[in-house]
C-alpha cells in the first residue's frame, strides 16, 4: 500500500481553513475581550481620532456657581469597601523621568500657585455633574520636577486598593488638569479622594485617580485599574 497519510490537496485545504479561521478570529467581536479582534482594531482607530481631535490649548467652558450639582448629589466611588483613609505622614511622591524627584505634603502643594476650575464632569456610566475644584496644575508640578523630554506618559497611583491609571502627557499637562486638595471651596472630603486627587476637564471620571499616592513620568504607556479590565485607555471627552 502506497497511500499517503496526507495528499498535497489535503494540506492545502487544511492550510486555507486555518488561515480563514485566523482571519475570522482577528475580525471577531468579543465583548469580554474588547481589546482583541475587530473591537480592538477599532479602539486603536478611535484613539487616533481622539488624539487628533484633542487640542492642548482648548479649554472646557468654566461654569457658573449656579450650575454646581447640589451637595451630596455628586456621586463618589472608591474600590476599597470602606472610604479609604490616607496613611499617617502622607505625601505625594513625584518620580520617573524627572531631574528633581519631589515629595510633597498637602502644605507644600498649597504653597504652589493655586488654581480653581469649575467644569462639567463626565462619567463613563453616562451621568454628568459639576463641582469646583481647587488645587495646583499638574503642569506646575511637572515644571518643578523638571520632567525629561523623553517622558510621554504619566502614571497615577493611589492608596485605594491599588487603583491607578496612566495618561498621555498632553492631557496630563492640560491647564485644566489639576491635583486637587479642595472641592467647592472646602477642603477635599474623604469620599471625593482626600487628601489629594487628580481632576481634569478632558478625561472621563475613571481616569481621575483619587486618594493619590504617586505620580510618575514615564517613556512608555502603561494601563490602569479599569483599563486593564477592558475600558478604553485614552478615554478623553
Amino acid at each position: 500500500m502506497s497511500r499517503k497519510l496526507f495528499t498535497r490537496r489535503d494540506l492545502l485545504v487544511a492550510g486555507a481553513r486555518a488561515t480563514g479561521l485566523v482571519a475570522l478570529g482577528s475580525l471577531a467581536c468579543d465583548s469580554q475581550r474588547p481589546r482583541q479582534g475587530f473591537l480592538g482594531l477599532m479602539e486603536r482607530v478611535n484613539e487616533r481620532f481622539e488624539r487628533g481631535l484633542f487640542r492642548p490649548d482648548r479649554l472646557a467652558p468654566e461654569l457658573p456657581e449656579s450650575d454646581e450639582t447640589p451637595e451630596g448629589e455628586f456621586p463618589a466611588y472608591h474600590i476599597t469597601p470602606e472610604v479609604p483613609v490616607a496613611p499617617a505622614g502622607w505625601a505625594l511622591s513625584v518620580r520617573g523621568l524627572v531631574e528633581r524627584p519631589l515629595t510633597l505634603s498637602v502644605q507644600d502643594l498649597q504653597r504652589l500657585p493655586r488654581t480653581s476650575t469649575r467644569v462639567r464632569h463626565h462619567c463613563v456610566e453616562g451621568w454628568s455633574a459639576v463641582a469646583s475644584w481647587q488645587g495646583v496644575r499638574l503642569s506646575e508640578v511637572a515644571r518643578l520636577a523638571r520632567v525629561d523630554p523623553r517622558a510621554r506618559y504619566v502614571e497615577f497611583r493611589s492608596f485605594d486598593s491599588g487603583y491607578w491609571s496612566s495618561w498621555d502627557l498632553e492631557s496630563a499637562l492640560h491647564p485644566q488638569t489639576i491635583l486637587a486638595y479642595g472641592m467647592n471651596g472646602q477642603p477635599l472630603a474623604r469620599e471625593y479622594g482626600a487628601p489629594l486627587r487628580l481632576y481634569s476637564a478632558v478625561k472621563l471620571g475613571y481616569k481621575m485617580v483619587k486618594y493619590l499616592a504617586a505620580v510618575s513620568f514615564l517613556p512608555v504607556r502603561t494601563g490602569g485599574y479599569w483599563e486593564d479590565r477592558g475600558y478604553e485607555w485614552f478615554a478623553g471627552v
Binding site: P34, L39, G40, H122, V124, S128, A129, Y231, E232
Partner: protein, 217 residues
C-alpha cells in the same frame, strides 16, 4: 427606468438593518449603566423609565466596557453606510422618486393618511415608486440619521466639540435627544415592518431589486 430597488439601495438597506441592531443594542446596554436622564439628583418626571434599565434581551455587549467598544466601533460603519446611500441618491438622481418634495407629495401624503384612517374610501393616485406618505416617512427617517450621529458625537467628545454640545443644549440634553432619536427609529421600524407584512411584494423588491416597470405604468 431603473428597477424599483437598485443594488446599492438594497445592499445599504440590509447593511443598515444589521448596523442599527448593533447600535441600538449596544446603546441600550450603555444606557443600562445609568438608566436615568437629566442632571444627577434632578427629577425628570416626564421620562417614565427613569431608573429602569433596558431588558437584557434588547442589549448587546454584555457589560458597559464591551458595549462601548461595540458602539464606537460600529458607529463608523453606520455613518459610512449612510454616506454611501446619500451620495448614491444624489449622484444617481434616485432622490427624485424617493425624497419628499412638498409640491408633489404633500396633498398625496394627506390623502393617503386620511385613507389609512378610513376617512377616505380610496387612496389618492400614486405618483411613481412611492406614495406621498411613504416619501415623508423615508425622508424623515433619513433626516434622523445625521441627528443620531451628531448627538452621539456630542456625547463622545463634549469638550473637544464644544460648539456641537452647546448647540444641542448641553451634555445631558444631548443624551436625552440621542435616546429620543432611537425611540423614533424604533417606531419607524415597527410601522415599516407592519407595512411590509401587509405588502409582501416590497420585501421581494428589496431582496431581488424587483422588476423593471415601464415609465408611467
Amino acid at each position: 427606468m431603473p428597477p424599483p430597488q437598485p443594488w446599492i439601495v438594497r445592499v445599504t438597506h440590509w447593511v443598515n438593518v444589521v448596523l442599527l441592531v448593533i447600535m441600538a443594542g449596544s446603546g441600550l446596554r450603555i444606557l443600562g449603566a445609568h438608566p436615568m436622564l437629566g442632571p444627577v439628583g434632578a427629577e425628570y418626571e416626564w421620562y417614565p423609565l427613569q431608573g429602569t434599565p433596558p431588558p437584557d434581551a434588547l442589549t448587546l455587549g454584555s457589560w458597559l466596557a464591551g458595549a462601548r467598544h461595540w458602539h464606537f466601533a460600529f458607529a463608523w460603519l453606520f455613518a459610512a453606510n449612510a454616506l454611501v446611500y446619500v451620495v448614491y441618491l444624489a449622484a444617481s438622481g434616485e432622490w427624485r422618486r424617493r425624497l419628499f418634495l412638498p409640491r408633489r407629495d404633500l396633498a398625496n401624503a394627506g390623502g393617503t393618511f386620511l385613507y389609512y384612517l378610513r376617512l377616505r374610501r380610496t387612496p389618492p393616485p400614486q405618483d411613481g415608486l412611492y406614495n406621498g406618505l411613504q416619501r415623508l416617512a423615508y425622508t424623515s427617517i433619513l433626516a434622523l440619521a445625521p441627528l443620531l450621529v451628531l448627538t452621539g458625537l456630542a456625547l463622545y467628545k463634549p469638550v473637544q466639540l464644544p460648539w456641537l454640545t452647546a448647540l444641542l443644549g448641553g451634555y445631558d440634553t444631548a443624551r436625552t435627544l440621542h435616546l429620543l432619536l432611537l425611540a423614533a427609529v424604533a417606531l419607524f421600524a415597527l410601522v415599516h415592518v407592519v407595512q411590509v407584512l401587509l405588502h409582501p411584494r416590497t420585501l421581494g423588491d428589496m431582496i431581488t431589486g424587483g422588476r423593471r416597470r415601464e415609465a408611467g405604468s
